[in-house]
Assembly symmetry: C2
């Protein structure tokens, strides 16, 4: 028996449940108490939208563990419907309130792990308390949305981040008419705008009305419907609103106990998930960890980090500083929107610009597997790196297949501190059903190294070429079908013999379908003395 | 114009074609001559099996480029049906023979890139020259197999490596009765035997007769059929044989020119693909590159490496030692066999044992995406690492979905020199349709770190537990349905209260379905003072 300490864990989902399980692996004699305000523990919160849409048919599948199973499997003392009302770091006590009986009590702890999570933001707008304005955080919220959605037709989803998109998609699955409202000028504001654009098309195609650059201002209810009033003055009537405009960390308890918090109210932790108070850890959505890419601290409210942070806290309790520290989150995230997947890892161009950090970026397209094998789908991949060190800083990808794989490869490369040159020679699995001899990740590495070496001179958008000499080097058929505005068509194979048609005294911009042939063309032109640049990502990426 | 050198490239597929394309990007003025012995250039050789089985319906899809398109797009001088008969490194000349006319000539080069590839091994066995014994290397071979297969029923595929498995699978697609013969006691001999075992089941399920541990000895032909006689004395009659027992590098030309070759006849190259002769490079299946994992040189005859080696040679011609060197191949490879995918990256246990290098390994199972989301399939993942440094040395995986992704993540980790601890905290994309909060790659890292830290004490096979005290901790239903031989069933949830049923004076081995619960059980037992070990990979992996 290594220890008979008492570990108290506040919050029984992702991070808290992981911490409890890992602590029990270390010791059979430790007393472990898990306190949860809600009725459920260890449920699959990332799965909630998919039961609303019926894709996960059985509600029980979302209950990873129950209080009873946790008691049996991990010998935990599980207290659900119990709220921690105060923490006393100096005396090592927490105050509890039983929400069923109203009874209060105190509990001594040797080690305390805070995993209360984050709650959906509900701004104090007129009408916000209408019972038809719902949010989604736990199984009860999910049940409420399912009940409310059953009899209605029109739903507004406010906020087009990851959860808003998932909820919108699932509501379409069950035949609802969905309006999606987003304050920013793009959906999925975590991504750079040009990478998120295809999602709007996909939403439109499925009948979702997407309203961008507009914010909710008030709700006005009547029996027939709920008026959703936007900042622009626009109003529309719906039967149900799902609010998903972000989350706020449940940091009050920690604040009242005097723990150090970050600017947005997250509990600040170190690499072992330690807070500013001795023997108190914080994990999951409530905390902000050291940011390995941007410096400082960052909160990344995602399931993967929460689980591994919980494990880290438990390890530190039993192993001390010999435990493996949590290296910080790099923000890898993905969402499915109908037949598209879109995601990111590391830093975006947006964030780097905001932080005034120098970066380079490139956008390439490539097939999900060998282009000659049936079913290949185009992946558009944006790679962002440091011009000083060549280190990969971030990536974003969108496509119908294989987006998760490329994000995971680049997330691994970022974690390893790899450079664009390292991506060139990644040796990824290749057989025609699975990959390509030159995977799109390799191609992103090629393009980035070509930019660094001056072989690829890109311009990022068609706009910057407007009014200039643009040569469309696609086959004439493609060029006619999907015209590139203002471009003259000279197919690549005819370029050398038709150089005379291009004015050497003016800059020339080349465009193609995928951004590869235009690079080839720009190389030919540059090697013949032209000031030539290739338009990034091709028509596939540039032409709406 | 940077250069007007003459680059001669021998071999117009993967490596040669990539070298030509990359050289042209560097210079419009260089003269580039591409010499190919066959009629075709730049075809998709990895796609050949899939046209035999009709999965790639259009033969033209396999012709990535034609001599005409290469002339137009890259301004190459393409000479097909032309053989290089001698290389003279001292005078910088090659001798050519036009295979259509028989005419001979010489050609001066400034830089020579050898990319002749490798040819299928045809051992000098009795009957090997029967016209019904075919091999698969190029489009003509593929056409011959398609013609021959059209009218027959029984086919023997000799050799169950990557290509043999692909050909066998595709022949089943078009209704052939296939016998697959492999000299080793397992299919896919590149993998460790236990990881390849599920493939035999999949083959059997589709009617393929798999004969292991037996080699071809002779063929005996008659009008009605071709007798295939094996070393064991076993004989069977087929209508067609496809021989896929490996490839031999086309190194004769280099040998005659005095270039340094490796023990198996590959041209030895350095990181810039330079041979021992000045201004002569070799790329692709013909060469052996520095081996980044095992030391020395290794030949990895795969499409991805060939393409990137070709690019490296061209870069070195134009950039000299400022070019990015090829870092060596780590042998990432994958094959689809019906609904299974199996593959590897880095070093196998087999190879490490052969080289007498120390290593540790673990086998874990995990779902392809969140287990509560429809369609999750089990992936079995073997991770191999160095006990001295913790560095990941290799991995193997098998499953129905997501195998390629996990191999690619670990291939990236190997390239980066990551350790098992780094795998613990990889932050991979997680949304229910794509992944899990704890991906199977993380879980492999957890398990490896647990072994290193003494938390997980595994035994690799059920065999080693035979006759000992085995506790099956699965639910009774599962245990009855898929019994673990010699085990007593105590479900995990009852373990603590039934400790009295387990003999503390004898070692105890725990087994479950996936190898995770048995680890939990072994931790409970160890923390209660038992000498407990968990059987790796669970019944899913261990019980046939």
């Amino acid at each position: 028996m290594k220890s008979s300490k008492h570990i108290v864990i506040v919050g029984g989902v992702a991070g808290g449940a992981s911490a409890a399980a890992r602590a029990r692996r270390h010791s059979e004699s430790a007393r472990i108490t898990l306190i949860e305000r809600g009725p459920d523990v260890s449920f699959a919160n990332c799965g909630l939208p998919y039961h609303i849409g019926g894709e996960i048919t059985d509600r029980d599948d979302l209950a990873v563990q129950t209080p009873t199973s946790l008691r049996k499997l991990l010998a935990l003392d599980v207290k659900t419907l119990t709220e921690v009302t105060a923490i006393h770091p100096d005396s090592g006590k927490v105050e509890l309130k039983d929400l069923k009986t109203g009874e209060c009590s105190t509990l001594d702890y040797d080690e305390l792990i805070l995993s209360p999570g984050a709650s959906p933001i509900r701004p104090p707008l007129p009408g916000i308390d209408d019972p038809r304005v719902l949010t989604l955080r736990n199984l009860e919220d999910m049940d409420a949305i399912i009940r409310a959605a059953r009899t209605v037709e029109r739903v507004a989803v406010i906020g087009a981040g990851f959860i808003g998109l998932e909820v919108a998609e699932q509501l379409v699955h069950i035949g609802k008419r969905v309006s999606l409202v987003e304050l920013q000028e793009q959906v999925l504001p975590q991504l750079d705008p040009e990478m998120a654009r295809p999602l709007v098309e996909a939403l439109k195609h499925k009948g979702v009305e997407t309203i961008l650059g507009d914010g909710i201002q008030s709700f006005g209810g009547s029996e027939e419907g709920l008026w959703t009033n936007l900042a622009s003055g626009r109003s529309f009537e719906v039967d149900l609103v799902v609010l998903s405009i972000g989350v706020r960390p449940e940091g009050e308890l920690a604040r009242n106990a005097g723990l150090a918090l970050g600017p947005r109210g997250h509990i600040t932790v170190d690499g072992f998930q330690r807070t500013s108070a001795p023997s108190i850890y914080a994990v999951g959505d409530v905390c902000e960890s050291p940011d390995p890419l941007a410096g400082g601290h960052a909160a990344v409210p995602l399931g993967g980090p929460a689980n591994r942070q919980g494990r880290t806290a438990a390890d530190h309790i039993f192993l001390g500083d010999k435990a493996l520290p949590y290296p910080g989150s790099i923000g890898t995230a993905i969402v499915r929107v109908f037949d598209l997947a879109a995601g990111m890892t590391g830093l975006s161009e947006k964030r780097l610009k905001g932080a005034d950090q120098s970066f380079e970026s490139v956008v390439v397209n490539g097939p999900s597997h060998a282009s000659y094998f049936p079913g290949a789908e185009t992946i558009t991949l944006k790679l962002i790196w440091s011009p000083d060190t060549g280190r990969v800083l971030g990536a974003q990808a969108i496509g119908k297949d294989g987006v998760d794989k490329r994000l995971d490869v680049i997330a691994t490369a970022i974690r390893a501190g790899m450079t664009i040159d390292d991506l060139v020679h990644l040796e990824l699995s290749y057989a025609p059903p699975f990959g390509s001899a030159k995977d799109v990740v390799n191609v992103a590495g090629f393009a980035a190294a070509n930019i660094r070496d001056g072989l690829l001179l890109p311009i990022p958008t068609m706009k910057e070429a407007a009014g200039c000499q643009i040569i469309d080097v696609r086959p004439p058929e493609t060029s006619r079908r999907l015209p590139a505005p203002g471009a003259k068509n000279i197919p690549l194979g005819e370029l050398r013999e038709r150089l005379g048609e291009i004015d050497k005294d003016r800059p020339v911009y080349t465009v193609c379908q995928m951004g590869k042939t235009s690079y080839f063309a720009a190389r030919i032109l540059a090697n013949h003395g032209y000031d030539a640049r290739s338009i990034l990502g091709g028509a596939h990426h540039q032409i709406e």
